[in-house]
């Protein structure tokens, strides 16, 4: 039976959940979306998107190398991303946010090498080109139970750590000099965040692929920060957008012959466009452009600032 999209949502949903692989894909997608929505929000706030992208790219040789050696791609992603995060976090840079701009040529060099060696490992494995495509552009087929549990464990640990350091990390991100004077360990927090970002990049790569991680790491957070300047509200909004985009992307991909990575990215882009447009409309009707647009106020976030 091939899945067929009809007009009955209940029947469509039961079709979606018929197969165990699809259930696993939705579970994994949800876990990854929550993690990427939260950590991506911090990454956008800290202007560290370039670091996030580099970490994801380094995951590619990790995953293809692991597959070549007969291991699970999951461990390749996590191992390489965390190792690269440790190296990048240790690079000397300003303690202020976005402190890696000076090393941009170094990071660019490393990205090129990472992609090339990932391609080599994939070729060594036997020229399994479909596998390479899946690693680069995402695939939701064949997510195992073990993989879901690994994603969940890492996400819970990372988000727990983030909750523990949240407030001083915010201080260090937006106002590093005053934070340092107040005794906030700015450098240590920056280090810890890059490690968390490595974990998030490794998780997101497993759904969207190495090259499309920004669909979950950047797009929901950027859209949320367009919609509201209230911190807690935009953080929750980022998670909600990431989860919705992932569900929609996976659901549509299930009924279509085109890949999930494309749909997730397209829905993320649409969310960003809508958010930017509503901010522009609000800027025109209001006096300043930071007025909360009505569309965002009616979203089911129930968020409020303490």
């Amino acid at each position: 039976m091939s899945p067929h999209l009809g007009w009955n949502p209940a029947r469509d949903a039961s079709q979606l959940l018929t197969y165990h692989f699809m259930l696993n894909a939705l579970c994994a997608g949800t876990i990854v979306a929550v993690m990427a929505g939260v950590i991506g929000w911090w990454m956008v706030l800290r202007r560290q998107s370039f670091v996030g992208h580099t970490l994801a790219v380094v995951g590619f040789p990790g995953a293809s190398g692991a597959v070549w050696l007969g291991l699970s791609a999951t461990w390749g992603y996590f191992g390489f991303c965390v190792a690269a995060a440790t190296v990048i976090a240790g690079l000397p840079g300003r303690p202020a946010m976005g402190g890696f701009s000076e090393e941009s040529s170094v990071i660019g060099t490393v990205q090129a090498l990472a992609l090339a060696s990932g391609f080599l490992f994939a070729s060594l494995y036997g020229g399994f080109l479909n596998g390479t495509t899946a690693l680069l552009f995402g695939s939701f087929l064949g997510v195992t139970n073990g993989q879901v549990w690994a994603l969940l464990a890492v996400a819970v640990a990372a988000l727990g750590a983030l909750v523990a350091i949240g407030r001083p990390l915010l201080f260090a991100s937006v106002d590093p000099y005053v934070a340092e004077a107040r005794g906030v360990p700015v450098r240590a927090l920056s280090f810890a965040f890059v490690i968390l970002l490595g974990l998030a990049a490794a998780e997101a790569s497993q759904i969207t692929g190495t090259l499309l991680v920004f669909a979950l790491l950047v797009m929901p957070a950027a859209a949320a920060q367009q919609l509201t300047v209230r911190l807690a509200r935009s953080l929750w909004l980022s998670v909600v957008i990431a989860v919705l985009v992932t569900w929609l992307g996976l659901g549509v991909a299930y009924f279509s012959k085109y890949p999930a990575g494309f749909y997730i990215t397209t829905f993320g882009f649409a969310a960003y466009l809508l958010a930017a447009a509503s901010r522009m409309i609000a800027a025109r009707s209001g006096r300043w452009g930071n007025v909360m647009p009505r569309t965002a106020a009616s979203l089911p976030t129930a968020a409020s600032r303490p």
Binding site: R167, V178, R182, V229, R230, P306
Partner: protein, 288 residues
């Protein structure tokens, strides 16, 4: 030279918030200043003046305890530097916030209150927790005090330099410090804003008994509000009232060079003949 100044401030009978005795600092192998004696009375509004590169910011950082003294002693609020940091509101030399930063002024002020505490506030805690409510009230109060209520809920990146500076002063004030150390808070502000911020700081120091020490580049916009000045030059410092310190005689002694202080008809002071970076310092008032 500084003995006379020290005794005059002690004669006021007020407690001393910041005291330096024979203090010297070496930075990058160079003796920045030495034999510095200060006695800043509690509750006074003090400007730290002097040419570029003379070590004004270094003095502030030494008071914070982040730069060690080579010789001598510093006492800040009756304790060694660094021991009283929870009672000090510090405003570093500032770069403004990035224009695209989507964080509200009120959140920046709030970080000054509890941004160094671990954890993360959860949704709606202000409705259930008395402490969170008290914190929100304190933030609103201090924003009102600096006159920033009308724009505190806008993203700070889009505010003007003067508006950002008021919010940063609120941030430094939010924990009710007894001493405020401000490093060039008037830098990059236009003249009316420089006067307005100085008036605000003078009012805070008077009404709330906060000692305010502010590094400044140009004394004229703030002259009417100052209680005292610390003039750093020639490797040492003089402290006293503005009229005592900014005179040809005192500055000539400090620089060991002939310095003239001219007073314009509207009461502005022009220092002529400073050996280090004289143009940068006096060009601003010449141009007006």
């Amino acid at each position: 030279m500084s003995e006379a100044m020290t005794s005059s401030s002690e004669a006021l009978g007020a407690a001393v918030a910041v005291r330096a005795e024979g203090a010297s600092v070496i930075l990058g192998g160079r003796m920045l200043w030495s034999a510095v004696d200060l006695a800043v009375p509690t509750g006074s509004f003090v400007a730290v003046l002097g040419p570029n590169g003379v070590g004004k910011s270094t003095l502030v950082r030494a008071l914070l305890g982040s730069i060690p003294l080579r010789t001598g002693r510093l006492t800040v609020l009756g304790r060694p530097p660094g021991a009283a940091s929870h009672e000090i509101g510090y405003l570093p030399q500032r770069r403004s916030f990035e224009p695209g930063l989507r964080v509200r002024g009120i959140d920046i002020v709030r970080l000054g209150l509890d941004g160094d505490r671990w954890g993360m506030p959860l949704m709606g805690s202000s409705r259930v927790s008395r402490r969170a409510r008290a914190a929100a009230e304190r933030v609103a109060e201090v924003i009102e005090l600096v006159g920033a209520s009308s724009y505190a809920r806008r993203p700070i990146g889009g505010l003007s330099g003067g508006e950002q500076q008021r919010l940063l002063i609120a941030q430094a004030l939010v924990r009710r410090p007894r001493l405020m150390l401000l490093d060039e808070p008037l830098d990059s502000l236009d003249l009316p804003n420089q006067g307005a911020i100085a008036a605000l700081l003078a009012r805070i120091s008077r009404e709330h008994q906060v000692t305010v020490m502010m590094v400044a580049h140009d004394v004229n916009p703030i002259l009417p509000y100052l209680d005292r000045v610390v003039y750093l030059a020639g490797g040492s410092a003089v402290e006293g009232s503005p009229r005592e310190v900014i005179t040809g005689a005192t500055l000539s002694r400090l620089y060991s060079a002939a310095i003239e202080v001219l007073e314009t008809s509207d009461g502005r002071l022009v220092v002529v003949g400073e050996p280090e970076a004289p143009h940068h310092h006096s060009a601003r008032h010449d141009g007006q």
